[in-house]
């Protein structure tokens, strides 16, 4: 059922077997998986069923390190996540891809690499996650997808580089899609406008109640046998740091790990590619739609497309970090905000280039997403300012290093070399040089001037790096409580009845888009809670 905390009398105490905090991808998946299990569930959600400015303001905070940005436009913290039913999936792009086996391995030369669970451990949960994110299935094999799409993956591959497939939801807005199931449920109650402000505890070893309040000032709490934090990669840490009943440093933070290792995916508008082999070679990069054959969403359609990444062998041999590259077809407005430029299609581009282009349809723009090495100093902390609920606002000190930047460049060049080796074509790497006025320059006909800087002006030590809006690793999953916050079951190392869901539990960021794995981990956590509580 869907209820509203604004109708509760102040001082109300509610109780359930499981109290989930946050109704985004992780919280809703957990609720759906627990539905009908015999466990009673209360989900506390900060927002309503649509965006509300006052609630959205609770997500505001300061960036004191690197700023989160797209191109050279800084992005405010409250723009990077959404606070209402469905959470940030209300504006995600829907790209799905599992992590690679290498992500789970300890890698020589990389700080704090590896997970305490294996890739194989997650396989059955990724399979089940496909139902919730609404993609065909857990088979991401190239052959399978070449067959399903009737398109060839780019013929670029050697020991270092390989194509892979993205399954694209369109995109699945969890709040919208699962709202009616949640409304109809008798054992799951989603309480809207319930802002959690404190995890109450006597001794720091267990949560006694979750304290929440509405923006109208109604205070209430919820007791439960098990509590799950599922408020996103930044807020999970913020709530733990803010819960100071037993310790000023926060709850479960005796080893000073909460909020550390904040990681983002480094997004780079990398340059251009010219396919020697012509437009046909690009069809797989543009992708196509497929129909989900069976299961909960049978008959629905979603997309799939191919992209390029570094092989696990290469990452292992070179002790380097992951880089993936999308070759964007018919998107020569690369980097220009979509709302300004629209998405120029191939035919417009052809017309724009006119006689100056020999075969404009064989040109792609390159967009890369890369992994950063973990840095304990990159962290979510608390600022001095408080929000309308009285909680201290987030202060984000995001860091990445010159080595991270060098590894991104190395990865891009490795991919460009593979493209040449395969006879696919040539790539021009002008990382970060793209400019929002690109399309105007394109009209002038000089392709290179799509970039605001000439290639020789690009500062390879300081080119702009954007983000994927993926907030990871702030409550890492580890065996050792001195290096992370949750154990392999996603239970807090130091708090017996508190579990965490979302990308904050990622031990390492990897390079895959995170939500598919967030959902898989939520499915796994639901199984675990059932086994513990039933």
């Amino acid at each position: 059922m869907l209820t509203d905390a604004r109708s509760l009398p102040s001082g109300t105490r509610r109780s359930a077997d499981v109290c989930v905090i946050g109704a985004g991808a992780a919280g809703i998946t957990l609720a759906m998986e627990l539905m009908g299990s015999g466990l009673s569930v209360i989900v506390l959600e900060s927002g309503g069923t649509d965006v509300e400015p006052d609630t959205q303001d609770l997500a505001a905070g300061d960036s004191v390190g690197r700023t989160l940005e797209t191109l050279d436009n800084p992005v405010r913290l409250d723009q990077t996540r959404l606070r209402y039913l469905g959470g940030t999936t209300n504006h995600w792009a829907g790209f799905c891809r599992p992590l690679s086996p290498i992500d789970f391995e300890v890698r020589e030369g990389l700080r704090r690499s590896g997970w305490p669970i294996s890739h194989d451990d997650l396989l059955p949960y990724w399979d089940r996650a496909t139902e919730w994110v609404r993609i065909t299935d857990g088979d991401f094999g190239l052959d399978t997808w070449e067959q399903r799409l009737g398109l060839a993956a780019p013929a670029i591959g050697n020991a270092r580089v390989e194509p892979f497939v993205f399954q694209l939801t369109y995109p699945t807005l969890f709040g919208l899609l699962y709202r009616s199931d949640l409304e109809a449920s008798v054992d799951v109650e989603v309480m809207l406008h319930a802002n959690v402000v404190n995890l109450a505890t006597d001794d720091g070893r267990a949560v006694t109640a979750v304290q929440a309040r509405t923006l109208e000032g109604i205070s209430f709490d919820v007791t439960a046998t098990a509590f799950v934090l599922a408020t996103g990669g930044i807020e999970n840490a913020r709530i733990l740091l803010s819960s100071t009943d037993a310790d000023d440093s926060g709850l479960g933070n005796a080893t000073d790990q909460v909020g550390r290792h904040f990681a983002e995916h480094l997004q780079v508008y990398a340059g251009f590619g010219v396919a020697e082999s012509g437009a046909e070679a690009l069809a797989g990069l543009a992708g196509d739609e497929v129909t989900i054959p069976s299961g909960r969403h049978a008959g629905n359609r979603h997309g799939a497309k191919f992209a390029l990444g570094l092989t696990d062998d290469h990452l292992r041999d070179e002790a380097t970090t992951g880089v993936e590259m999308q070759l964007l077809v018919g998107n020569l407005d690369a980097g220009r905000p979509a709302e300004e430029a629209g998405r120029a299609g191939t035919s417009e581009i052809s017309a724009l280039l006119g006689h100056r282009a020999e075969s404009p349809e064989s040109v792609v723009s390159l967009q890369a997403l890369a992994e950063q090495e973990l840095d304990p100093e990159s962290r979510v902390g608390l600022g001095r300012a408080t929000d309308a609920t009285g909680m201290r606002r987030v202060e984000l000190d995001w860091r990445y290093s010159a080595d991270d930047r060098a590894r991104v460049l190395g990865g891009l060049r490795t991919i460009a070399e593979a493209a040449g080796e395969a006879g696919w074509g040539r790539m021009q790497l002008i990382p970060g040089g793209v400019h929002a006025d690109a399309i105007d320059n394109l009209v002038q006909g000089e392709y290179i001037t799509l970039y605001s800087a000439t290639p020789s002006e690009i500062d390879l030590d300081n080119f702009p790096i954007g983000v994927g809006f993926h907030h990871m690793c702030t409550t890492r999953m580890t065996d050792d409580r001195n290096e992370g916050v949750v154990d392999p079951d996603c239970r807090m190392h130091d708090v017996d009845n508190l579990w965490v869901a979302g990308s904050s539990v990622f031990s390492t960021p990897g390079v895959a888009t995170p939500t598919y794995t967030i959902v898989a981990l939520a499915v796994r956590l639901a199984d675990h809670l059932k086994s513990v509580l039933l």
Partner: protein
């Protein structure tokens, strides 16, 4: 001036390298008496049965370019020279693999092998095989000397 996409397109499939190979580098030495000299393995050394001595290498034959050269390739060659600083025709010719060995050598294969071995150079951000970049530089130098 920077390279345009169009110039880079011209490099496809062996591009400038194919141009030079088909132009007969290794078979016409305009600066000698016409004797065919093939490229030694190591261009700066000659090996005798008893000793290895460093000598001034015999000049490599200068190719005659068989077709009208696209201005784009010349422009690219100039950018390669500006980027690498290497503007000596003989040095560039010596460093080109395959030349003088076999007129039917597959230029595209040489280029691909450069990429496979990661022998690449970045020119205005374009990641090019060393061989194709050098070949473009050779073309530019020849054209500057009115040889094309």
């Amino acid at each position: 001036m920077s390279l345009t996409r169009r110039q880079t397109l011209k490099l496809g499939s062996g591009g400038a390298l194919a141009l030079i190979i088909s132009g007969g580098a290794g078979f016409i030495d305009r600066r000698s008496d016409g004797e065919v000299v093939s490229l030694p393995d190591d261009p700066t050394t000659t090996t005798t049965s008893t000793s290895t001595t460093t000598t001034t290498a015999a000049p490599v034959q200068v190719p005659s370019l068989p077709v009208a050269v696209d201005a784009a390739v010349i422009a690219l060659g100039r950018r390669v020279i500006a980027t690498t600083g290497e503007d000596d025709l003989q040095t560039l010719l010596r460093a080109l693999p395959g030349i003088g060995d076999d007129p039917l050598v597959d230029a595209a294969a040489i280029v691909r092998d450069d990429f496979a071995q990661r022998r690449t150079v970045s020119v205005d951000g374009w990641v090019l095989a060393e061989s194709e970049a050098r070949a473009a530089a050779v073309v530019a130098l020849l054209c500057e000397a009115d040889e094309c």
